[in-house]
Amino acid sequence: MQFGGGGIPPVGILFDGGFDRIGDLLALAVLFGLESKGQSRVVAISVNRPDFAAAQFCDITKHYYTPGAFGGLPIGSVDGKQQPDPVYAKLLAETGDNAAPLFKPNVTRVLDTADPATVLRNALTASQPSNSIVIASGSVASVSRLLSLIGSKPLIEGVVRHLILAAPKLPSDPAARAAAQRMFDEWPTPIYLCGDDIGEAIRFPGASIDKDFAALKNNPVAAAYRSFGDMPYDAPASPAAAALFAAHEKENLFKLSEPGKLRISASGAIELEPASDGKHRRLLVDTAQKDTVLKELTEYASLPPHPPSGRRGANANAKADPKEPQQIKKQQ
């Protein structure tokens, strides 16, 4: 999370997801692939549901892709009554040669994880100006809480280029919906909605798991993919698309809607109310770019692990094109 090198490092991505669908793990695979190419950095990962096993699996994934890295922030994980997804229990119980666990977690206690909002906030405090992007996949509770922490709003305003909501899921609780609406209204930088329609249009090809991941021994994302559904299947990839958009915004892989303001309808759907002064937009599929998006997703997701280049973690000291942040800003 901290870097001592000169120059502006690649944009830092904070990923907060429910991890109750393969899309979130695919997004992590894409993000670590982008990191290995020096195009972005994964600076925080959190699970926005009370599922400790999911947090363990996130940590396993992180260590798979960045072996040897130490330090940095712990995985964020919502505390409380556990709602375990059975997929992770099954994966954690799998054994390989000599009956050894195939996926051995370093995180063995809930205490070894952290409050998601605190992880996100602390990651942002180490960010260069306008050099972070937050992706909230599923629940928006963590980012709502992040915004409510003391000093967070000016911090976000200073360092977060934008928030991307990937296939958001709102709870039925009216208070939680009100909190989500408040977050939409008060979030100080642009918000992009990468909805379920993106996931329906852009499905990660199950065939890629057998083909592109074949050389990656004991890859946790591939194993999870096989466990989340009956193979072969193509998984909705909104979170992975959000990850690609975050790092490659300037490539215009997606179309953008006119600006508006996000509103939660009476039925609980998130709608974009047109407003010329709005800071919110919806990502739209660009049919001309769909194949490119799928190609990039599969390529980045299946890149091999990369050793850390700095003592604080992967690519901590990597330098980005100094023009990049400015170019991206122009497009906002």
Partner: protein, 450 residues
Amino acid sequence: MTPIERKALGRRTFLQGLGAAVALPFLDAMAPALSAAPKAPVRMAMAYVPNGIIMNQWNPTTEGPLGTLGRVLQPMEPLKDDLLLLGNLTHNGGRALLDGAGDHGRCCGTYLTGVHVKKSLSDIHAGISFDQIIANQVGKNMRFPSLEIGMEDGRQAGDCDSGYSCAYTNNLAWKSDTVPLPPTLNPRDLFERLFGDGVILSPDARKRQALYRRSILDFVNDSTHSLESRLGPSDRRKLDEYLSAIREIERQIEAAEATNAQIDPHMDKPYGIPADFAEHFKLMTDMITIAFQADMTRIVTFLVTREGSSRAYREIDIPDGHHPLTHHRNQPDMIEKVTQINTYHVTQFAKWATKLKNTPDGDSNLLDSSMVVYGAGLSDGNRHLHEDLPTMIAGSAGGAFKTGRYIEYRRETPMCNLFLTMMDRMGVHIEDFGDSTGRVSGLDGGLNLG
């Protein structure tokens, strides 16, 4: 100050004489007739040691009731039932956060303020420390709203760590964003603050005064006799013990001054500061105990040695500097020496905590009435880590804390959450402080929810 001729003794009664004002401990005569002694007030002290701790000799391995303590904490073993050990508290503000080197400068500036201090030698900027927020409310009716005590290096300017002003490494308490409160280092200065008329004398003036003065207690003799005549046997005994303790401190200061006068004038020790670490520590903490006992103040910050200190500990045959040793690069001999220094510090703290426990306070004792935090702004001094900061609370804050336990919070739990909880205990309730995200739970024995 309340004159003694009142029939019922006021809590703020002083023994007064020329240039002296000696506050009193709580006496039975101060309680209204036929009523129980009032509940003792809660006192708070924050004791800070520099350069981190050898953490695998500090943290217990399991949560819950304290078992055998780690080697560094062994001196606290007899006081185990009076302790709370807290794990995983973090000061994110102490981290580099793009400011590069200077973890020692940052961590001390952050410790009580909770803010990421400005890297500067002249334009210093931190934040009000939480002890001063309490002092502004609780301390306003005290003789001293707070006391700031230290034992090493009072420099307030210059570069003490990679571009961080010495103001950050040499102070714990901050009155405001830009005004640190330098600690009192010299025992005589502290003694005269506590019992004198507010004038700090020069060494020469002290020598002249010593020619005719035997003890500060001589100046309050008449007042003492007058008071004694109105006290019952129990109070007279209490008063005698209390005044004897003050006299003992005075003797120790005089002995230190006499020793200093005979040694090499080029020695790097100001006049009157004992060369022996343990002796200095005892003097300062004896006076803190008196200040608490007499309710002169309820808030003390104690910078045991400055952050980044390179003090050698020849008292325990360690001639190497503390700070260089902590960058041990996992060399066993260096780790062993740091462990010995850590343990030596805790040994002195244990003696102080024992003294507090042996000092009656209302219907309990001073340790029970207090929350005395012993901690550091770094955990691993070798790697300059700002998470899982070593944090020990001695005392139950007037019975509010269920002691004898190790509570481990979730990682990244802000240290400022503990400070908010401590402020609550001192009767000061605010919403946020530093980078707080809430309050810590479980200190009272309830569920630990982080």
